[in-house]
Symmetry: C2
Subunit: 667 residues, 2 copies
């Protein structure tokens, strides 16, 4: 269908709104919206299945602006097609408490599917959504009842494709043959520093073909070519799709088109005037949109409502034919856990013997697998170590999308981005494992999970220098504290198998990301935890073992594997008539949320002799031990040796705790 | 040259030593050494230019075992070819204080070029070394005097190639046409979870060709093919080289060859016995090496000494012909800064007006550029924002390797790995910039810089929520504290232009990595800093402004952009007759290193009313404010708005500081 004058004006409306929005804020990125206006127009008016009146319709196509700095494009599209985002919101771009922040922030009620801006993340989120879509479809679709049947679209930039996280995600998407992905690459050959030719000269189409993607190359300003490429992508099964759109950044601007100047700064009033003239725009009035243009975009609402209505008919038929599945689908899309799911959680008797908390976690995962069909996850090529594999539910692979064990490969960062995408999609409760030291590789995605409050569970094992022989490259030291520093991330370092089960329960009930910090080495199962862990872990810290005499001389505050050492030290101190209370503190965040009286009941103000024991940096422990307390920790990198030797050398023994406690008592 | 029986036994010696080494430790990875023994043998005996008697010879080829888990291979090679690594060291594999830790740890005197283990890092280090080699050669080589003329070799694994950091590094290596790189890909199709077919099915050779690499595919057990491929790589200019070696993990093991079992566990005594039989090994005695095998490997030493002697002749001729260049080369390879270099550091007068510390940093970099020819660096596509560009020294590009401005592209993680590689190579003082929030993207490489004590400078700008309009995705909150948690990383958050100049001086004199934490927004240049900053910053914290009355009621402890607010608050408090001392604390690490008397002179024990002011998480500040103090910080994510508004909303104003100070005084 040839481009009409109305088409052209609709496209230019995106350019004009982006220019004006950025100019009004005196901050932002007009170049990408102006360059990708043609693609966005064709996609949003001819292909995108969505209902602006119900932005969270389960079977909508997803649209991700991975290049989040082009947010003015997304906001313009949402306004024009009739989402509850108003012209007044565009005028508040990048202002305090506006609905149009500098980069898109996850807000499904507004049609914003994910938070983007840190490059590469949106690309990976889309792959995660595509996995979730294929999985939910495999689980719930029935012949003639393709309830979940849609596409994940994204606009990705040079910057997105340079980032390693997108390269990892592209590789796994190709492996998994996720043909429900259609990505538009804004090939404008301009980055902030100048032409991409200064650093990015690889053959992108060939690279994506090597990953197993279906690649098309088009003129990104040719409406017919765009339309044709989308049709062709939809018709070509078995591969994810990349449509390379050769575009000009800031298209239409007489003096800034094709220049880095247009990337991250307003065009300026004069250049906007010249651009509007060049585009034959009918008015110089800021934010002016012709009525017929707005009306054309607003057709999206009735079209969307019709599409959703048709789908609701299908859903009704599905509910009749498959009532159990329909109820289960609703439950899962709502994110509600099944009734009494927690009864599946194992309890561990002390006489079970020693057990690493990673092993306990593996048992919990396998105990929960049948009870929680939404549980889906895996490891970044470490499942034998992370104990993340679910026996029974099979593997998620190209031929078996109903499987629930994911093989992320040695791609921690993409794993982080994929987990976010799965959580954003809904219906799944994703988890991912690696060694704690490699949480650094996925930290940018973890931060976004925290920012978006996504219910992702990280299974980070090998949680201290007691990794042992692998040495300092594999021994986390600073990680637990660095993770505690991330706002909104719940960090849990359980002390034994029962605390691990409790930690999993909390993680699955938590409306945000949770880091489970688990040992490689075996630990005793403490008699105290069978009874106390469930409530105690939920409160962040609790009295695991009271002072055995009628006063509290000292608080031993420990986390994770160090709790058992503290218990042993308590006994030895008793022989010296020192009454120590042992506090297990699996979570700072949960403890901070407790009422003051509870906090004081665990850490009484009058007891100033306090010793923290954690196999990690001591930075921060002053919060709980105070000026009169002391810390046992590790403020250097670890070393390669059997872990029992490291315990001796680094002072993580009951004897050393006793010595330090006695020194503290003597001060 | 056809493979002889001796060749075969030399190859098998690597397999046997790896098996025995791992078995002795009862921990480690025998599979890779056994699979790559043929490649390693051919490379180390026929191609690698090195001198085991002088492992740090400047013109040696570099060899990186990026797949560091195969450390037994590297240690075996070092022992066999006569480096100062002994058989007794092999027997101490993975033991406390041994010279053979679980993963290779940078030790140039032993021939260990870099610390590897976290996958992908060694790959990127090699690219950094190749950049440094090309740069030093362009600067110092003269016609007929090719002083620096060698290759960077690496063995890389499936895991290395799956990691995003290697993909970013591969892309930039191709762009820069670094034909001094020859990488061997151990294509054994096995990872820890099983066959690579479960997650890694992309066309690796095609991907590397897309990056612009020269790719060969060979049988990794065919000695002639290996030899031929290396020759061909050396003969093919203009592209980095990947030699894809199809191998069998644990080659020679009757029951474990080609299985994931052989990846990360000892083979077991019985399987070792069977393997030695299958390899026709002459003895079952552990660590047995036939004399002729050892003698053959040990030819490396005389060969290496001859090669180095020849080079020293060349160096002598160079010293005669180019005495100035020779002296300069020696100075740079030693890592000594030029005499009086610091006189080039600018001082900033308060009447200069306001200046962001990133802008001050840019002025420092440009003032130092002529004085410090070893300064080389750039930004991950943010130089207009990071102010990292040196005017004058030109760009490092394929046609201009003498240039000193690097274009890292939107590849923060590779930038981190490349900076490490450049620092490892020597002769260069590398720096790299991005937004502070994206330090997360490069954190695994930063950790390794700290572990290796590499003199890398990070120029991390846009250091707080006062980034403003870009919003929470671009606003660091937890980052400064999380970086302080990394052992050995020096973190400096200067308060104005003069503190920034002092911070740069400290960074360049520091024998380890330094993070410069710099503002986006303008700050006043404080009258106090022109005089006090040089010494004060070096001490980590100092009294910037004494209480204006004859007592100290209160300490205001601030860092970076918050120091100016504290100064203003001091004046307002004075109006209320509250005497506040303002302490500027740019570096916790440096302050902790001061003698106690100095620390107490800055933070007197008697002054318990203390208020910290830092636009980041408060976790950790209890260390300095104590129980009677208070903190002003940000324990949530930021928001999108002009930064002046954010200062109001988040309480970073003199008025709010005064209010909190008065509350504290009233307690």
């Amino acid at each position: 269908m040839p481009k009409t004058d109305l088409d052209q004006r609709c496209i230019n409306a995106l350019r004009v709104l982006a220019m004006d929005t950025v100019q009004q804020a005196n901050s932002g990125h007009p170049g990408l919206p102006m360059g990708m206006a043609d693609v966005a127009y064709v996609l949003w008016t001819r292909h995108l299945k969505h209902n602006p009146k119900n932005p969270t319709w389960a079977n909508r196509d997803r649209f991700i602006l991975s290049a989040g700095h082009g947010s003015a494009l997304l906001y313009s599209l949402l306004y024009l097609t009739g989402y509850p985002l108003l012209m007044s919101d565009l005028k508040q771009f990048r202002q305090w408490e506006s609905r149009t922040p500098g980069h898109p922030e996850h807000d499904p009620d507004l049609g914003i599917e994910t938070t983007t801006g840190p490059l590469g993340q949106g690309f990976a989120n889309g792959v995660g959504m595509a996995i979730a879509q294929r999985h939910m479809a495999a689980r719930f679709n029935r012949p003639d009842h393709a309830l979940l049947d849609h596409v994940i679209y994204a606009i990705v930039s040079d910057g997105d494709l340079m980032e390693g996280v997108s390269q990892e995600a592209a590789s796994i998407a190709g492996h998994l043959k996720l043909d429900n992905l259609i990505y538009f690459y804004d090939d404008n050959r301009i980055t902030i520093e100048g032409a991409t030719a200064i650093t990015f000269t690889e053959d992108v189409p060939a690279r994506f073909r090597a990953y197993g993607w279906h690649v098309q190359e088009i003129d990104g300003h040719d409406v017919d070519a765009i339309d044709g490429a989308i049709r062709q992508a939809k018709a070509a099964p078995g591969q994810p799709h990349l449509i390379v759109c050769r575009t000009h950044i800031a298209y239409g601007s007489p003096n800034k088109q094709g220049t880095a100047d247009a990337h991250g700064s307003p065009l300026g009033a004069e250049e906007i005037r010249l651009t509007k003239d060049a585009l034959n725009w009918p008015s110089h009035e800021p934010f002016f949109v012709p009525d017929d243009v707005l009306a054309h975009y607003r057709l999206a609402a009735p079209q969307g409502e019709r599409a959703e209505a048709k789908w609701r008919d299908l859903l009704s038929r599905y509910e009749t034919a498959f009532p159990e599945e329909a109820a289960e689908l609703q439950r899962r899309l709502k994110g509600t856990l099944p009734a009494n799911w927690e009864t599946a959680l194992p309890r561990f008797a002390p006489d079970t013997g020693v057990m690493a908390t990673r092993a306990a976690s593996g048992k919990v995962i396998n105990a929960l697998a049948p009870a929680l069909p939404e549980l889906i996850g895996g490891s970044a090529d470490l499942d034998p170590s992370n104990k993340t594999f679910m026996n029974g539910p099979g593997e998620f692979q190209a031929g078996s999308y109903a499987g629930r064990n994911l093989r992320f490969g040695v791609r921690e960062h993409a794993m982080g981005g994929l987990l976010n995408g799965m959580a954003l999609y809904g219906g799944a409760r994703p988890y991912g494992g690696t060694f704690l030291v490699f949480s650094d590789y996925m930290r940018p995605s973890v931060r976004l999970a925290a920012l978006m409050k996504l219910p992702v569970v990280y299974v980070w094992t090998h949680d201290s220098i007691f990794v042992g022989e692998d040495g300092p490259t594999h021994e986390p030291v600073e990680h637990v504290m660095s993770l505690r520093a991330i706002p909104g991330l719940l960090v849990l370092r359980p002390a034994d198998a029962n605390e691990t089960a409790a930690a999993w329960q909390i993680a699955l009930e938590h409306a945000g990301p949770t880091a489970l910090i688990l040992t490689r080495q075996n630990l005793p199962i403490m008699p105290e935890t069978a009874e106390k862990a469930r409530d105690g872990v939920a409160r962040g810290a609790y009295v695991l073992s009271e002072s055995p005499i009628d006063r509290i001389d000292l608080l031993l505050i420990a986390t994770g594997s160090e709790v058992a050492d503290a218990l042993e030290a308590q006994k030895l101190l008793m022989e010296r008539r020192v009454g120590a209370r042992v506090v297990s503190m699996p979570s700072w965040e949960l403890f901070e949320q407790q009422p003051l009286f509870y906090k004081l009941s665990v850490l009484p103000e009058g007891v100033l002799k306090r010793l923290s024991i954690e196999a990690g940096v001591t930075l921060g422990w002053e919060r709980y031990v105070g000026k009169s307390g002391d810390v046992i920790g590790i403020d250097r990198f670890g070393a390669s040796a059997p872990y029992q030797r490291l315990k001796q050398e680094f002072g993580f023994t009951a004897e050393h705790i006793v010595r330090r406690a006695l020194e503290l008592m003597a001060e």
